[in-house]
């Protein structure tokens, strides 16, 4: 066994696939940030709001006022450096740190695909993606009279495939529930409103279409990594990848995610395919072809760093594989309590919306009044807050502190809230009798969430 592992770890492959992946990753990340900036979203989501929802343990990560633009600029610049492979390791570290910092600034903006980018860029720190077809390779060949590598360890390419596989398979497993499969929820709600899409709009109201989409989506997520791995089915699988993600792009406002996934899926193709791309690029850019055919193997700067990289990547994947199951440690319905919902590749899985009205009571005078959420939150923040307990609690604490600073004493905070999930009638969400000002946030089960009145079977 151990010899097999050692053999695998020493197996060498063409560096082209990882280099192509790096270039596309850089391009798409740069495009994402430019797009985000051009929509005025930096100002709208990170500078204008007076209050931001934080992640547990990362309360110190806050927007930086006008310097937030600088943060985005650094992130964009590092993505360009990653693209051309200039000081690759530093660039990807800076990209990972700046991008993750951006994502941690406000929980309102959490999306699975941002989390995916964070995780992917972390993984890429430990991969020699900048060794081939890069400015670093040119510099290396010039400065030290050495030749850059043409081959890299197989595991460095396979680890990207593994991460993509995890994302897909877990997204598929999450869909194996009674709402998704036997009620066609939430697609039954989402699709009919897409009636004005050209060609297929009229079909969107058909019940069989909603079921077909649900089942097809679940099947696609569960099996696509395997069809991509298997050489004979690979081209067809890639066509499916494109169709699937373009369709989601047409139906839902999911930004850059479809393109990231389409381009990422290319990693499954043979080196020959990637070499074609690189040679075409090299010709256009007058990149010295000699540097592409060196027959050299990639050598880590030291044996320690090699071991270290493998160890980190192994630990990383153990966490990735275990983390989505943490919801099992909590009682109650996951979709309702959302305890363990994030960081688990549960994408486009439920139609959930809520309404939360906070009541403030002055513990000394007994004076009571309601809060107009628009005074403190943006519409998007209010929307996210109204159906997620950790948001509700953090906001309640913010209100407590705000009104105490205004001179109220022993402020108590209660919330009257209703949440509707996947087409069920809205029901009371948080126990209206619980004073949220006294509740401490933790990873413990939140007993003040009123249990779900229905049942969703499944994983």
């Amino acid at each position: 066994m151990s010899t097999r592992i050692t053999t695998y770890l020493n197996t060498q492959r063409e560096a082209a696939p990882l280099a192509v992946f790096r270039v596309f990753f850089g391009v798409l990340m740069f495009a994402s940030i430019v797009r985000f900036w051009s929509y005025g979203w930096i100002k709208k989501f990170y500078i204008d709001p007076s209050f931001h929802f934080t992640f547990y343990g990362f309360e110190w990560v806050k927007p930086l006022g006008d310097y937030t633009y600088l943060l985005f600029a650094i992130c964009a610049l590092s993505s360009l450096f990653v693209m051309v492979g200039f000081k690759y390791r530093w660039s990807i570290i800076i990209f990972f740190v700046s991008f993750t910092y951006i994502e941690l600034m406000d929980k309102t903006m959490y999306l699975n695909h941002y989390y995916f980018i964070s995780m992917l860029s972390f993984l890429m720190i430990f991969l020699p993606a900048g060794a081939y077809f890069s400015i670093d390779a040119i510099t290396l060949s010039r400065k030290r009279n050495t030749t850059p590598p043409q081959f890299i360890p197989a595991w460095t390419i396979d680890s990207i495939k593994l991460l993509l596989g995890i994302v897909y398979v877990y997204a598929g497993l999450a869909k194996l529930n009674s709402d998704w499969l036997f009620k066609a929820m939430p697609l039954k709600i989402w699709l009919p409103s897409k009636f004005d899409i050209p060609l297929i709009g009229n079909l969107m109201g058909e019940e069989w279409v909603q079921y077909a989409f649900s089942w097809f989506g679940a099947g696609y997520d569960l099996f696509i990594p395997f069809f991509l791995l298997y050489k004979k089915t690979r081209p067809y699988a890639f066509v499916m990848v494109i169709i699937f993600h373009v369709l989601t792009r047409v139906l839902f406002p999911i930004g850059m995610f479809p393109y990231v996934m389409i381009v990422s899926a290319l990693i499954f193709f043979d080196a020959a395919f990637h070499k074609k791309i690189i040679y075409a690029f090299a010709k256009a850019l007058k990149y010295p072809t000699a540097l592409l055919k060196t027959s050299k193997q990639y050598v880590p700067s030291s044996a320690i760093s090699k071991k270290y990289a493998v160890a980190v990547v192994v630990i990383f994947f153990v966490i990735q594989i275990l983390l989505p199951w943490r919801y099992l440690a909590y009682p109650g319905e996951l979709f309702w309590t959302e305890e363990g919902y994030r960081f688990s590749w549960r994408v486009m899985l439920m139609e959930k919306s809520g309404y939360a009205q906070f009541k403030i009571v002055d513990g000394v005078t007994g004076r009571r009044f309601y809060v107009d959420n628009a005074d403190f939150l943006t519409p998007l923040q209010e929307k996210q807050m109204s159906f997620q307990p950790d948001f509700i609690l953090e906001y309640a604490h913010y209100l407590r502190d705000h009104f105490e600073s205004q001179g109220h004493q022993e402020v108590q905070v209660y919330v009257e809230s209703y949440v509707a999930l996947n087409g069920r009638l809205s029901t009371t969400y948080i126990d209206p009798e619980v004073n949220l000002a006294e509740i401490e946030d933790s990873f413990k089960h939140k007993t003040w969430v009123i249990p779900f009145t229905d049942e969703i079977k499944g994983l």
Partner: protein
């Protein structure tokens, strides 16, 4: 290989063409009978049978008010007729206030005709100065129905005292101000009505898609906003001290006339329910509506029809509010328990509209153009 490149090229092409959050508008081709709810039929019903007749009636009432103000300022010796015309116009306003979309939104109709309480100091300053620009936003609380309320009911202890002011040394300035703010209302409401009669109706009905900027989505957002902020909070919540912790009886509607704010609330509540059901203005005919849309979507929840649940909550709210004394009497009780209980029933409608209805229709509330997952 070539095939994959071709596919990649096509997909990138689609990407290049597909700008974000744009909906492609297609011509109305006669395809198979759509299995989806016909939004344009609903928009047509709203425009033709509810909104336009509503504005037409409102403009007529404002014109009557203008005539009555003219004859009152001519010979200010009896307030009865002008007050009746004001009340009639004000009552009708409650039925069109929710349509703050398109033309009304452009001219900010609601902010220009019904900010209460009226700013008495600004009104008096304007009258003293004798010159004022009613288009300034700083004068919004010094015109419209609340300002007329003050000028017809609040200038003195009793009718004799009020009439004395119009017949006094400064009477001409008061008369002129009354004429001017009435003319201002007429201009604004006529503008809005004419726009609907003109091109806007077609624009409104043609925009029958499903996107954040489509008529249905925008109108539903505005409708819910009206219900929550103006009807529920403005007419009941704020005076009841729901948001401040202490009763604010001076913030009721029609403060100086007195005794009618509850009636105005009921008219507004009925108007929002009639709109929900697609009931034609001043008639019992019903057309496509939010209620029929929900029925079409099969929004059956807990074995009950969502449109029925919403309607019965409307009915409960009306019953409970109707059972109250007038708002002045209720707010004089400390704490105004019955009033607040009635408010709670009205409040129950908010999550039903804002969560259940919107979620069933897949309409994004307070649309924020961010990416989803």
């Amino acid at each position: 290989m070539k095939r994959i490149f071709g596919i990649l090229a096509i997909s990138l092409f689609i990407y290049a063409c597909g700008g974000d959050d744009t909906t492609v508008s297609t011509d109305d081709t006669d395809t198979v009978t759509p299995v989806t709810f016909d939004r344009s039929a609903m928009l047509t019903n709203w425009a033709d049978n509810i909104i336009i007749p509503g504005y037409q009636d409102f403009v007529a009432k404002v014109n009557t008010l203008e005539a009555q103000v003219a004859s009152f300022t001519d010979t200010p010796n009896d307030l009865t007729a002008v007050r009746a015309a004001w009340l009639d116009a004000y009552t009708t306003w409650q039925r069109v206030s929710m349509f703050e979309v398109g033309p009304a939104e452009t001219v900010n109709l609601r902010l220009n005709v019904n900010i209460y309480p009226a700013n008495v100091a600004t009104i008096e300053d304007n009258i003293t100065a004798g010159s004022y620009n009613l288009d300034l936003s700083s004068n919004r609380a010094a015109k419209g129905f609340p300002a007329i309320d003050y000028l017809l009911y609040g200038l003195g202890e009793d009718d004799a005292a009020i009439l004395a002011i119009y017949n006094g040394t400064n009477g001409d300035a008061y008369k002129q101000y009354l004429l001017d703010i009435t003319a201002d209302m007429k201009t604004l409401s006529t503008t809005v009505f004419n726009e609907w009669e003109g091109d806007y109706k077609e624009t409104f009905v043609a925009n029958d898609g499903a996107s954040a900027t489509a008529s249905t989505d925008r109108f539903v957002n505005d409708y819910i906003f009206y219900f929550e902020k103006h009807l529920r909070a403005g007419k009941m919540g704020i005076p009841g001290g729901v948001f401040s912790g202490s009763v604010e009886p001076n913030n009721i509607e029609a403060l100086y006339a007195g005794g009618i704010s509850k009636d105005l609330f009921i008219v507004g509540l009925n108007a929002t329910q009639d709109f929900f059901n697609g009931k034609a203005y001043n008639s019992s005919a019903q057309g496509e509506s939010l209620a029929s849309y929900l029925d079409e979507l099969n929004a059956i929840k807990d074995g009950a029809d969502l449109s029925e649940i919403i309607n019965s909550q409307f009915d409960v709210s009306r019953t409970v509010v109707s059972a109250l004394g007038n708002f002045e009497q209720e707010l004089a009780i400390n704490p105004p328990t019955n009033f607040l209980n009635a408010y709670d029933e009205v409040q129950r409608l908010v999550p039903l509209l804002k969560v259940d209805m919107v979620s069933a229709m897949s309409i994004s509330i307070d649309f924020a153009d961010a990416d989803g997952d």
